[in-house]
């Protein structure tokens, strides 16, 4: 079943889009690639500060709620830019990327990071934890901040590895 999806001709058809050919054959590729890296570094830079606060490691004088208001718009905006540029790079070699183990790991780790984020969000809103002091913050949610950083470091490593396999 999974193999049928991974090897579906849809991925190959993406590579023949005029846009994919334009990106793959010109300076658009390095331009988009560098914007992808820049978006990632803005996303991870803001996420680092938020996750360390969630873990109770840094910036404990501010509430998680305030830091979310400060950083979440940057994190989401950068994530959207990273996704758009990422898709633009992906379609130039979609069929090869689908079979690239590094790319598969990258997608899997991003799904895990998303699940971790949903769990964190659900717990903090349900029990109204975004305002409480770090010492009263549940240990499991503190670990969720560390897990988030490890997962995103893994996403970065897998993403960098994609270029070494193609």
């Amino acid at each position: 079943m999974i193999n049928a999806v991974l090897t579906h001709e849809f991925w190959l058809s993406l590579e023949y889009l005029p846009l994919a050919e334009q990106i793959g054959a010109t300076w658009w590729f390095p331009l988009i690639n560098s914007l992808h890296v820049l978006a990632i570094s803005f996303m991870l830079g803001a996420l680092l500060m938020l996750d360390l606060r969630a873990a109770g490691v840094a910036a404990n004088r501010y509430s998680i709620k305030d830091l979310c208001k400060d950083f979440l718009p940057w994190i989401w905006a950068s994530f959207v830019v990273a996704c758009i540029t990422g898709i633009a790079l992906f379609i130039t070699r979609a069929s090869a990327h689908m079979l690239n183990p590094a790319f598969q790991w990258k997608m899997l780790l991003m799904v895990l990071a998303a699940l971790n984020m949903v769990m964190f969000h659900w717990q903090t809103t349900r029990y109204r934890l975004a305002d409480i002091q770090p010492e009263n913050f549940p240990v499991m949610l503190k670990w969720s901040g560390i897990v988030s950083l490890l997962l995103w470091a893994g996403v970065t490593l897998a993403g960098r590895w994609v270029g070494h396999i193609v």
Partner: protein, 198 residues
């Protein structure tokens, strides 16, 4: 990357240019790039770095990822502090407190960046020394790190309620400097696109 296959590597073009030079022209400036290239190519560190990157499986992407996560730490410390000074981000936080908290992260990231970057430079010095984008990156890096130290030295300026214009200008320089340095870093591998288009 299939699109790169038709592009000549920088080293080829550089050596062609060398052959085209008139033999009897006196060089106006000493051959700095040549001396640097000779120095690093003959250094035992070149062989060490080259062997290390070749013999340890997966080491190149791992070291590149460390370098990339270092970029994220610099953005998450210096760039966001500058955005705060400019009033563009993190406005619920106190700028002076941010500077005290974030500069140690920035200063810790610099040696990590330097070592992870030097490993690649030392393994193939000519690839970098003769690459114009690497020169741009080096200049941007030196100017920006100088400006960053300056911002650190004058960080007591951030205690005031309204941050003065010179401090804001300095923050704008530091912020754009790190963005340019990071972009130049990515473009080192793509310099053929800019300088030697087909």
């Amino acid at each position: 990357m299939s699109s790169l296959k038709n592009v000549k590597p920088v080293s080829d073009i550089v050596s062609n240019n060398k052959n085209n030079q008139l033999p009897d022209t006196e060089p106006f400036l000493p051959d700095i790039a040549g001396s640097l290239s000779d120095f690093f190519s003959n250094s035992p560190l070149r062989e060490f770095s080259d062997n290390l990157l070749r013999s340890v499986p997966g080491l190149p992407p791992v070291v590149q990822t460390i370098h990339l996560l270092g970029v994220a730490v610099i953005v998450g410390s210096m760039v966001f502090l500058c955005l705060r000074i400019l009033g563009l981000a993190a406005n619920r936080q106190d700028p002076y407190e941010m500077a005290q908290r974030l500069f140690p992260w920035f200063f810790s990231a610099i040696p990590v960046m330097f070592i992870s970057g030097a490993l690649f430079f030392l393994a193939r010095p000519q690839r970098y020394i003769y690459n114009p984008i690497f020169t741009i990156k080096t200049v941007a890096f030196l100017l920006t790190i100088f400006a960053s130290f300056w911002l650190w030295k004058y960080s007591s300026e951030l205690k005031t309620n309204t941050i003065r214009l010179p401090t804001k200008l300095l923050a704008a320089v530091v912020m754009s400097g790190w963005v340019i340095t990071a972009l130049a870093g990515r473009w080192i591998a793509y310099s053929d696109y800019i300088f030697w288009p087909e």
